[in-house]
């Protein structure tokens, strides 16, 4: 056995942390930093090459801290490695343009997708990898642990305890990884109060906080105005509810955020109730508080919702429905992205969502040329969890269908893609080759950015019908099943009509009439709310929509 090396120092990280705190002393009063001193504090504390998590969620943004970091001198602060889930703000991109940051590991860049692609092509940024949320959170504890994190909270007290408000999102996982590996935690808060409604992050984990000059920015990303839901979406929602929710008895689920799934939410209390499904389907949800879920909650369809984040305007409604939502002792929503993603992956029997493109193997992608959007959480929701072991009727039935009558050792998650065959004239959803392949070549990526892998997809719903891919026995059958619901797109018109009719006879493809659905019934009258105002009314006036959605 080797003897311990006598000169090895075992707390270098803690020593480095102490040195950072020492350098910060002139710019803070205890833990509180004046807004005007934040740039100086960051310049004193950061070291070139540091791994920094600048909290950017898909909703809440540490915008003041991001602007402060972007205002640092690139001579003092440079070559940072950013490890954050979402790039949403212009100041996030400035960091790379100025050379303050050089390397990036992230999940989603929706609003900055164009600018990010340009930075990649001009070699102004190195991308480590594009992750799903859970994947990135996992790496925070393995090989991408932040040395400094810059987070956003609702309020702080004098000691530095933090209250996160409704939009908890990523904050707990970021702070856990940073604070317990000798990192520095800096928070921006909207207000300093004497007594917090509840303590979400204890002061012992927080090194500095600043009362930002303006409240942190939150985007209402999950509000869908029912006015824009079309009859085609109503028809597809009817098929999904009757052909999948009812058929498999799906009680635990996650929905995507588009109008297709908003239509389903608004059809549950009307069409769903007429099929006698209340109490039998859609009872437990991993979902943000979507305003379009209000009628189904009020009707008693939805029993429980755990959320990734919150939604602007839903605060009072959520606080008034604590039996449905997770709330703190203070009454406000407690969300948590890491836990809700885990719930969506392991505790839900179905994911249903939309996409921009799908190929003949069922691979789908939201990538378009010249934009790097990333993944977010959809691949966690929209994948069969191979580590799952607990059974449920929906999971077992899907597994039986996939195994084709052979010995069954596992179930299968229902991963449903609901798409119209065309987005608009000249933009078919079904394609021979995803744009993702071209994007991979243009951006020098290792793999095409595929959102949902085809071999995870169980059903494809279009206005033409439902294709059950679990029942396909070969890649050829799978291809014809997809062509068989691809409508008048070039992919759909190239179907083998005999094979498709054969698949229909076997129930692999089902048309509306095969499910006893009359297309004439697919009208907007079926929607439990046809406007934002209807949603406000359904909430008893508790839902307070942001002003861009107030159209009365």
């Amino acid at each position: 056995m080797n003897a311990p090396q006598p000169h090895r120092v075992w707390n270098q990280e803690a020593q480095r942390r102490q040195a950072r705190l020492q350098r910060s002393v002139p710019f803070a009063h205890g833990k509180e930093v004046a807004p005007a001193d934040m740039v100086s504090l960051l310049e004193a504390l950061l070291e070139p090459g540091d791994r920094v998590c600048l909290e950017g969620n898909n909703q809440k943004q540490a915008d003041f801290l991001s602007e402060s970091l972007a205002a640092c001198s690139p001579q003092r602060v440079h070559d940072l490695h950013l490890v954050q889930s979402v790039l949403a703000l212009p100041s996030h991109m400035e960091l790379f343009e100025k050379g303050i940051a050089r390397r990036l590991d992230f999940s989603f860049a929706g609003p900055q997708a164009h600018r990010l692609a340009r930075l990649v092509q001009s070699h102004s940024i190195e991308i480590g990898a594009i992750h799903t949320y859970l994947e990135l959170f996992g790496r925070y504890f393995i090989d991408l642990t932040p040395q400094v994190c810059l987070i956003a909270a609702q309020a702080a007290d004098a000691e530095g305890n933090l209250y996160l408000g409704s939009n908890t999102e990523d904050t707990p996982v970021i702070v856990e990884a940073t604070a317990f590996k000798s990192g520095i935690v800096i928070a921006q808060v909207n207000e300093r109060v004497d007594r917090l409604p509840r303590v979400d992050i204890p002061a012992g984990w927080v090194d500095f906080f600043v009362v930002a000059p303006t409240s942190n920015h939150i985007e209402p990303l999950f509000t869908r105005d029912p006015r824009h839901i079309t009859e085609i979406q109503v028809l597809m929602a009817m098929m999904a509810i009757k052909g999948i929710y009812a058929e498999y008895g799906v009680e635990r689920l996650n929905h995507g955020i588009g109008f297709d799934t908003a239509a389903i939410e608004l059809l549950l209390p009307t069409y769903g109730a007429s099929l006698g499904l209340k109490g039998k389907v859609a009872r437990h949800w991993a979902l943000n508080p979507h305003p379009t879920l209000i009628p189904a909650i009020e009707a008693g369809f939805v029993e429980r919702v755990h959320s990734f984040g919150s939604e602007v305007g839903m605060e009072a409604y959520v606080a008034a429905r604590p039996d449905v939502f997770f709330t703190g002792a203070d009454g406000s929503l407690r969300s948590n992205r890491a836990f809700c993603q885990t719930a969506g992956l392991y505790a839900c029997d179905m994911f249903i969502g939309s996409t921009l493109q799908m190929d003949l193997a069922g691979n789908s992608s939201t990538a378009t040329l010249g934009r790097i959007t990333g993944f977010g959480g959809a691949p966690n929701m929209g994948s069969d969890a191979r580590g799952r072991r607990h059974a449920s009727p929906a999971w077992l039935k899907a597994g039986r269908e996939r195994s084709g009558g052979g010995t069954q050792v596992r179930g299968q998650k229902l991963v449903v893609q609901t798409v119209e065959t065309w987005h608009e004239p000249h933009h078919p959803t079904f394609v021979e080759r995803l744009d993702a392949w071209q994007l991979m070549e243009d951006m020098g990526m290792a793999l095409p950015p595929i959102m949902i892998y085809g071999d995870d997809v169980s059903h494809v719903v279009t206005e033409e019908g439902i294709a059950n891919l679990l029942l396909c026995r070969s890649p050829e059958e799978r291809e014809q099943a997809i062509r068989g619901v691809a409508g008048y797109t070039p992919v759909g018109r190239a179907r083998d009509r005999t094979l498709v009719e054969n698949l229909r006879d076997r129930g692999v493809i089902r048309r509306p009439e095969d499910m006893g659905i009359d297309v004439r019934d697919a009208t907007r009258d079926l929607l439990a709310a046809r406007s934002i105002k209807d949603l406000v009314r359904a909430s008893g006036g508790l839902y307070q929509p942001p002003k861009q959605f107030r159209n009365w």
């Binding site: 079309t230 009859e231 085609i232 028809l235 119209e420 065959t421 065309w422 987005h423 608009e424 004239p425 000249h426 279009t462 206005e463 033409e464 409508g487 008048y488 018109r493 009359d518 297309v519 004439r520 697919a522």
Partner: protein
Amino acid sequence: METLHLELPSLQDDTLSPQTLLHGVVSSGNLEVLVEPGPDAARCVFEVQTAAHGFSEVWQAVLCDFASRHPVGGLTFSIHDAGATPAVVSLRLDQAYQSLRTS
């Protein structure tokens, strides 16, 4: 605006009421279909005004399927598509046909 004129063979159903029938509303961003008696009992006439250019091949496929799916000989369908997708076109035509059967 592009205009398409198509005459397609189709079976005739004497029980369909040939009164003028309007389905859908263009101003709602949706498709409008007007059904009237046509000149030839063995053929269905389609007059399409479409906002989408270079889309006539898809239009033909949609209308051929419709004329073979339902007995619509002896009828004229005038369609303003308002940029609608083939999904909306098919849905509206099917709805118009179903309404003819029951009116």
